[in-house]
Symmetry: C2
Subunit: 501 residues, 2 copies
């Protein structure tokens, strides 16, 4: 498009130059038409390209998340069903020609998850009912107090109730659960009271509105729960599991990146570095988690989740995961920093650091299994014990650094030569400057281990609240080598009390 | 309440025992009445208490944020105004008795910020208009194709358009800006096409719907912009400024906490520890920022902000602030960790660390001033230079640690005795275990400095995009001591290139 415009601009210039160098002379009107044509063509091309891009994006989204396409089809289906009310005379007349309200209810109430739809339906029905009854009462009082006072009483009641209810929508407890209901309350109240002044068949109006809302909401609930239901609860569960996996991957990736040989540094594919960024999803998923947990509370028992599954605990797990992700973020920047740790220190700590990170991510992976199978794992305490043991080992090897390896006094930044270092006398003292990137890496690793224990605690609480059972294969395994596993457990319980940072 | 129930339960037991030990005999009916009365009283007390607590919360919210009360009053006022349509016969008949739609528009469209209201109004008007015209076209085609095909054509068109539009609401670009418009599009399209089959005055219906929507939206826009307008843009601006201040406070608080004397540790008030937690607000404000920036884009010029003020840049500033807050989070946990740095190291590094943190928070405070006054500051480069100089100084003093101070070989954890340490031979080598909490603290401080520079860059970009002017007093100051300030600037420009982590 931009190109076409430039070309047309140049063409025009060449024609307007009066020195005769240009031998193509075009009449002015033709020229204008030409210009307009090119402009139009550019515009059309741009528009087509934009639409094409939009459709391409939409297609990709549909392929990536077919659930969203299904939701669209479900809404279309419900609207089709509800519009039958218009075509069937008995149904249409049954609600006094107000079938419109049913259509409206379907459009407004149908949300992508079952929980959100239920929340809106219940809010809408309750709000409509409460406001309808209250409006009838106010209308009755206003009617009794004479023609002069009627509009005044109605006006004041509308003003006061609308103000108070609107304000109440800001109160957190109302906002999270009854926001939509409060809006519908104001809507119905003002519609019924205000139109009551004109429409004399007030009871009939209220009844019709209630019955059409009931038709619309029950249709929505039926369709959303029967055809490929999308549960907010399952979504939240999957999100947490996926985030746990991402956290384990990032941790593995980060520490692996730090301790890998320099030779392979340039030969890596895109894969691992993309995997390392997984913790960013964890950092950014707070809002989604909250919305989903809020809707999940409205859902009935579904899949492996009972009604009143402890969805709030998922928020705590999410918070502890974010807590851990903050540290991984710092670790990541530590690894990408310009100042690199001296090789002798790296080599010394490489094994223990890798051990700790492997143990830590194994704990995370076991948590993933617990969450996926909704069963308690007897292995988890063992793994946490191993992780804490690795922390202890890392601390020990830190203590032994100055005794086994003595680095150069001169900063390795100034003398990064391999040959040089070997010749430096063994009695020299390492500069703090040399060790501090490594020290903060180690510190962060230990912090991460402590925070992973926090995640494990939160998952354990969930297992208690939701009454997870022991896994079957775990049960059978445990029976056979009883003595060994209990002694093992004691060992690791002892390790659990090892000093933590 | 629970107490009352228990008492009544005991009473009942004593009476029912037939051994004559209880000499108070109450007839059974009285007993039941008594029980019911206590139960009712308990229930009522509980309810009153709940309502009281709710009102107390609401009152506190209203006192803390009077803007929310004002919003409630504004909604009440608009509803009152729009309900006049019902009382004035000429107005009421002008829209064919459909004044109801105007009431509905006001309730649904009125949001707390001007941007959100404008966004919804424009979405509603556009959606209604587009869907109305399309529905008329479909209706015309359906009418032409005979009575048998009419419901089929209409049904298919409703199904397809509703499905496609519902799906499109998932596409991010549509979701952020036109979500509400898409819903209104489906609503109007299905209402008009479906009711067109019954209501023969179709054009009239479409016209009435459009005119009532226009009345409702224009009333909303008028009231929201004229009476105490609440701007999403100003809100976003204030949020960012407030978060910058909190970040500076937390940094000061954290580092101050770490290096203060142990004697004063127990004498501190609640104040500083609460101030230290400010960074948590920064970590959690991503969703709010995004919503506000999205609405701010719809707002006209207001206060000191032009139309098309670069609101998107605020999101970048927010992201860089969160980046910095991650590090402060790690720093905070570093300070609260059980293992404390040895005192000799703390003393050695205390001054430089405090200098760096003071300089860093001064940069943040200068950024607050820039944002508050919407003026460029010539001081900011100087301050960043000073911060980088402090980073350099800290690195230098790290390098000099082993030469000037030699710590004990034995871990200070095991021998925290002051007297002991003085006698340890000066040639002993410090264990890595001793230095590593301090090292990570230092590393994080340097990281924070680097990330604060990132915030400064983002603010600088904003200043460029929004064409901030130089502060007046800065202009006059700069004119007098020209030579000094330029030479100073050069110094600090040189410092800026100091090695960073």
């Amino acid at each position: 498009m931009a190109n076409a415009k430039q070309v047309s601009g140049k063409l025009e210039w060449r024609i307007n130059v009066p020195d005769g160098t240009s031998n193509v002379i075009v009449p002015e009107s033709d020229q204008l038409v030409n210009k307009a044509w090119l402009w139009l063509k550019g515009l059309l091309c741009g528009l087509v390209l934009k639409i094409w891009r939009f459709l391409y994006k939409a297609w990709n989204l549909g392929v990536a998340e077919p659930k969203k396409v299904i939701h669209g089809v479900k809404v279309g289906l419900s609207l089709l069903l509800v519009s039958f009310f218009y075509y069937m005379r008995p149904l249409y007349e049954g609600v006094g020609g107000n079938a419109m309200w049913a259509v409206m209810t379907v459009v407004v109430v149908f949300e992508s998850t079952v929980g959100a739809t239920l929340c809106k339906c219940i809010n809408r029905a309750t709000g409509t009912f409460l406001a309808g009854s209250l409006a009838l009462g106010v209308q009755w009082i206003a009617n009794k107090s004479g023609e002069t006072f009627e509009p005044i009483i109605i006006g004041i009641s509308v003003f006061l109730l609308a103000s108070a209810t609107t304000f109440s929508r800001f109160i957190p407890s109302v906002k999270t659960r009854f926001d939509y209901g409060a809006m519908i309350f104001i809507l119905t109240f003002s519609l019924v009271t205000v139109s009551g002044y004109r429409v004399d068949r007030l009871f009939e109006l209220a009844y019709q509105r209630l019955s059409t809302v009931a038709i619309g909401t029950s249709l929505c609930i039926f369709i959303t729960m029967v055809f490929c239901p999308i549960w907010a609860g399952s979504g939240l569960h999957d999100l947490i599991v996926c985030n746990l996996e991402k956290l384990a991957d990032s941790l593995d990736g980060c520490v692996g990146e730090c301790f890998k040989d320099n030779k392979t540094k340039f030969g890596t594919e895109e894969g691992p570095s993309k995997r390392m960024q997984g913790y960013k999803c964890v950092l950014n998923s707070k809002a989604t988690e909250e919305v989903m947990a809020n809707f999940a509370r409205w859902e009935p028992a579904h899949g492996r989740f009972n009604f009143r599954h402890p969805w709030k605990q998922y928020l705590k797990i999410g918070a502890s995961m974010r807590n851990c992700a903050y540290c991984i973020e710092a670790l990541n920047s530590c690894i990408n920093s310009e100042i690199q740790a001296p090789d002798y220190l790296k080599k010394h700590l490489s094994d223990v650091c890798m051990l700790l990170s492997t143990n830590s991510s194994e704990v995370l992976k076991e948590l993933v299994i617990i969450m996926k199978t909704l069963t308690k794992s007897s292995k988890i305490e063992l793994l946490i014990g191993e992780m804490n043991f690795a922390v202890q080992k890392l601390q020990d090897s830190l203590n032994s650094v100055p005794n086994s390896f003595i680095g150069p006094t001169v900063s390795t930044l100034q003398a990064p030569n391999e040959a040089n270092r070997e010749t430096i006398p063994k009695t020299a003292i390492p500069s703090l400057m040399d060790v501090f990137p490594m020290a903060s890496l180690v510190y962060l690793l230990i912090q991460i281990a402590a925070r992973i224990e926090g995640i494990a605690d939160a998952v354990d609480q969930l297992a208690g609240l939701a009454e997870f059972k022991l896994a079957k294969d775990e049960n059978s395994k445990q029976k056979k080598p009883t003595n060994k596993s209990t002694s093992d457990k004691q060992d690791h319980e002892a390790m659990k009390t090892s000093p933590k940072v």
